[in-house]
Every structure is written in C-alpha cells, then in structure tokens.
Amino acid sequence: MLTQTNELRQYTLVEKVWFYFSLGLLFVLAFIFLFPLYWMFLGAFEPSSLAIKMPPNFLPVHLTLHNFEKLFTSTKALRWFINSIIVAGSSTVLTLIFASMAGYAFGKKKFPGRELIFWVLITAMMVPKQVMMIPLYILMNKYHLYNTYPGMFLPMVAWPFGLFLMKQFMQSIPEDLLLSAKIDGAGEWKIFISIVLPLSIPAFGTVGILYFINTWNDYMWQLVITKDIIMSTLPVGIAKVARNEFIVDYGRLMSGAAFGAVPMIAIFLFFQKYFISGITMGALKG
C-alpha cells in the first residue's frame, strides 16, 4: 500500500508532461540516427537522377537496381566484398583460437607473471593504432607482405579486446569440472578442447561478432597496406570511388554504401544480444 500511494504521489501533471516530452526527445534523437540509413537506401534504389533532384523525394517512387548494376560493372565491388570477407574472416578465426587459449590460461591458471603479462597486453589497447602503423607498413614492405591478404589481416589479430572478454568469461567456468577431468587423467589440451571450449560457445559468439565487424569496418590500415584497387576491402574501395570522382554519382555511391552496410545490419539484427553482452561485459567488469 505504501509504495502504491507513493507511486500515486509521484506522478504529478508536470511529471507526466515531462515523461512524454522526454520520450519525444528520445524519439527525435533516434530519428536523427536512423534517418541517414533510410536516406542511403533510398538513394541506392532510386534512379541516380533523383539523387540530385530538388526538392528531393522523401518516399520511394521509382525503385530500380540500376545503381547496383553500375556499381558492379564500373567498379570491383564484388571483389572488394570477397576481400572483406577473407580479411575479416581470417582475423576473426585466428583471434578466436588465440584469445580462447590465452583467456583460459589467464582466467583459470595461476602461473608466475600472470597479472603482469595480462596487464601489459591489455594496456596495449590504449596505444593508438596509428602509431604502430608506420613501422608496420615498413616491415610489411620489407617482408613482401605489402598488398597481400596476410599483411591486411595479421595486425588486426593483435587487438587484445577479445582476449579480455574470453578471460572474463572463462573465469566463471566451475573449478570442479576442470579438476575432475584432471583426476580422470585428461591432459591440458584435452581439458581445453573437450570441457572449456564447449562451455565457452557464447563467448565465441560475442568475440567473433565484435571482431568480424571491427575488421570489416577497419579503414586506415586497409587503406595504407593495399596498393591495387582489386585488393581493396569494401569500405576502402567505396571511399576511393567517392574520393577519386570529380563529380560524385551519389546514386551509385549510396548503392556501394548500402552494399557494405547490409551485411553489418543483418549481423546486428540477428545477433543483437551478443553485441550487448560483449560491450557490457567489457565495461562492467573492467
């Protein structure tokens, strides 16, 4: 009863007005965030002549795939897409293997130097990548990895965020499970493969998705490490289209942007809970 009367007391008219007013503000903000995406799709699927029409059409009138046709015939967009998948895929797979191994050791084993090594690895996250980029560029040239796939994805694997998440996750694996396997005579490697990995599937989902997106969206390193236009990843290729044109064909540009955005939007919509858990796990326990 007490809480009820309290609830009643708290909703005065002013508070009700404020409730709806602030909700309205939130909707306005959400609109500002989502509208550019709508605008991109509209530009991508409408004839490019409409992209420079004034006043603009706010609703789709003539839907066409013409921009995409132009995109695929006049640029190497399909190849860029494949490059992006190769680069993001390789770095994600390697990261999952390396980070899960290290995460297990840091989360479950008490070895001399554990705290220090972990701290050093994690602190590296603070160092801006641009600083490493110049020596890496020189090294990649020296070892003939410039303009190659390994040159593109290897440095991405060293991002320690995945290791951090894996450690957080694996810490919570019950000690008894590992101990009983040990008593049964299972070796370290066997324990890792048959007990730790199956229990860590959610962590694999989270780290895998965050890494895939992170590498897919990487721009600066992919820009400097590739020379040939056919080696570009999708964001780099599309950005080059925009930068190299004197008069930008916005219809085609938006079709390229949409082509790069759709896989990310799809991953986001399907795996939303993995994103949320990854981001909050990193922050709340950090």
């Binding site: 903000l29 959400a30 500002i32 965030f33 989502l34 550019p36 995406l37 605008w39 530009g43 992209a51 420079i52 004034m54 006043p55 603009p56 293997i97 390396f98 980070a99 191994m101 290290a102 050791a105 840091f106 084993k109 070895f111 090594i117 590296a124 160092v127 801006p128 641009q130 600083v131 980029m133 110049i134 020596p135 890496l136 020189i138 440095p155 694997v157 060293a158 370290e188 890792f192 969206n217 721009y219 600066m220 400097v224 964001p235 780099v236 599309i238 950005a239 925009a242 916005y250 540009l253 938006m254 790069g260 955005a261 990310m264 986001f268 939303q272 949320i276 981001i279 909050t280 922050a283």
Partner: protein, 295 residues
C-alpha cells in the same frame, strides 16, 4: 636462491599456461610492442622506405614550429573537449530515460542508437557527404524551406562542429548501452528505500543513480577520450582537413605526413606526441576521479 627454485617450480608446474598464452604474446610482441619501439626510434630519424638518418630531436622541433600541426593539435583538443562530455552526459540521460520504458521500447532505442556504430565510419561519412552537399543535399533543402540562406556545410567556419555531429552519431551507441546495463545493475532495494524515505525523483537521480554510476562514467570518459583523440575518417572523407586547415586533426596529419609525403620519421614524432597526450589525459582523469572508483 631458493626463491628462484620456487619460482622455477611454480612455472614448471603450470608450464601448460605458458603454451596457451604463447600465440597471443607473440602477436603482441610482433604487431604491437616491436612496432611501438621502432616508432619511438623512427621519431628521431629522417626516414622513408629506403633510407633513414639519425637527426635527434629535429622532428619534434620542426612539428612544434609547424603552424598546421599546432592547428591540428588545437582542433583535436576541441573535438575532445566538446564531444566527449556531450556524448557521455547525453548517453547518461538517454539511458536513464530508456531504463524506465517497457521492453519493446528499450530494444528499439538500444538498436536505434547502436546501429550506426556497427556500420563503418566510411559508410556513414559518405551518407553525410551527400546530405551536406551544398547544391543538392537534404540539409540545405531544409534550410531553404525554413527561409534561411543555404550553408556551405563542409567549407565554412563551423565545419568542425558539423563533423563533430557526424562523429557523435557513430560514437553515441556504446555509452548508451553501457550506461543502460549499469543502471539495470543497481539493486532496486536502494530505490525503494529512498522512495520510502520520501526522496524526490530528482534527488534519486543525482544522489543515488549518478554516484553509483561513477565507475561507468569514468570508464566512458577514458574510452571516449582515447577514441575521439584519434578522429580522422570524417576528416579524410568529408573535408580533407579544410577549409584552410580548420578541421585538420593529429591523426589526419600523421596519415598525410607518412603516406602522402613519405616522411616516416616526422609522422612517428607526431605519433609519439599523440601517445603522450593520451597517456597524460588518461592519468589526469584518473587522478581527478580519485579513489572513489573502487566498488
């Protein structure tokens, strides 16, 4: 001596652990630590892909005499000073509001604010390139509709603030989600107790929620500061640093110096300045936040 033996025994007992961390440590040594050390030495050299020559502090002297680099430093600070508090505080209010809504609205707003974050800065920048277009961009259409003179968005005095807005749209989602999760973590008994004691909503917000979220706020300030210090994609794609170097940033300067002009030593010196700035600002934030961060 016995300590060393003990250490050796402890290490031997857990030798599998070293095997498990080996790949990650190797990646760190090869792709983070080694380049970092090389970059440090490069900053004292004049270097390009084929040659290098030791020049002492010449790079540092020359970048601090370079008006464009000074401007880039100022612009980067402006980005950080305006954008980071705006993002963190707006995210706090937005999350506070979202936390009171029902689940479907929660999902909607979380998705709306987070979606731009998963798209690359490149894609969002290109969309804005079109929206900002002075002749047939959406924004000038609206401006004219409202009876104002059209604005040359990407070549005016205020351009840096328009870029900040674009960066805002792709940095806002993560803080909102993190705040939201932290708010949901606060035990509801705390609120109930406060309510029974007759605390008003405003008092609950500022005397319970906000102080309890201090560690989250600190974390967001630090991570956003580091992120915004590295702003460059919008600059490269929308303005190229212009008009008249008004939107030049440190990272864009590093990029141009290294990969347009092949001055690797000079660019590394700029990189070192960036590292020092980030470390100093992070430590200052830590000191300012004090020891209250431990719960």
């Amino acid at each position: 001596m016995s300590r060393i033996v003990r250490l050796y025994k402890a290490m031997k007992k857990e030798k599998a652990a070293y095997f498990f961390i080996l790949p990650s440590v190797l990646m760190f040594l090869l792709f983070t630590l080694y380049p970092l050390i090389l970059s440090f030495f490069l900053s004292f050299k004049h270097a390009n892909l084929v040659s290098s020559k030791w020049v002492g502090l010449a790079n540092f002297v020359s970048i601090f005499r370079d008006n464009v680099f000074i401007l880039a430093l100022k612009n980067t600070f402006l980005f950080v000073v305006v954008l980071v508090p705006t993002i963190v505080f707006l995210a706090f209010f937005a999350a506070l509001k979202i936390s009171t809504l029902n689940n479907s609205l929660k999902t909607f707003f979380r998705g709306a604010f987070y979606l731009p974050t998963v798209l690359s800065g490149v894609i969002l920048s290109l969309i804005w390139l079109w929206i900002f277009n002075p002749a047939f961009g959406l924004l000038n259409y609206i401006v004219k509709l409202l009876g104002f003179k059209p604005v040359i968005w990407l070549a005016s005095k205020g351009t840096i603030y328009y870029l900040m807005f674009v960066v805002f749209t792709f940095n806002f989602g993560v803080p909102v989600i993190i705040y939201l999760a932290s708010i949901m973590n606060i035990p509801s008994e705390l609120y109930e107790a406060a309510r029974i004691d007759g605390a008003s909503r405003r008092e609950i917000k500022w005397k319970i929620t906000f102080p309890l979220l201090k560690p989250t706020t600190f974390f967001l300030f630090v991570t956003q500061t580091i992120a915004v210090f590295q702003v460059w994609v919008v600059v490269q794609l929308l303005t190229n640093g212009g008009p008249a170097h008004r939107t030049e940033t440190i990272v864009f300067q590093i990029y141009k110096t290294a990969f347009w002009f092949n001055q690797f030593g000079r660019a590394s010196a700029m990189g070192m300045v960036l590292v020092v700035l980030i470390v100093v600002v992070t430590v200052l934030q830590r000191l300012y936040a004090g020891e209250e961060i431990n719960y």
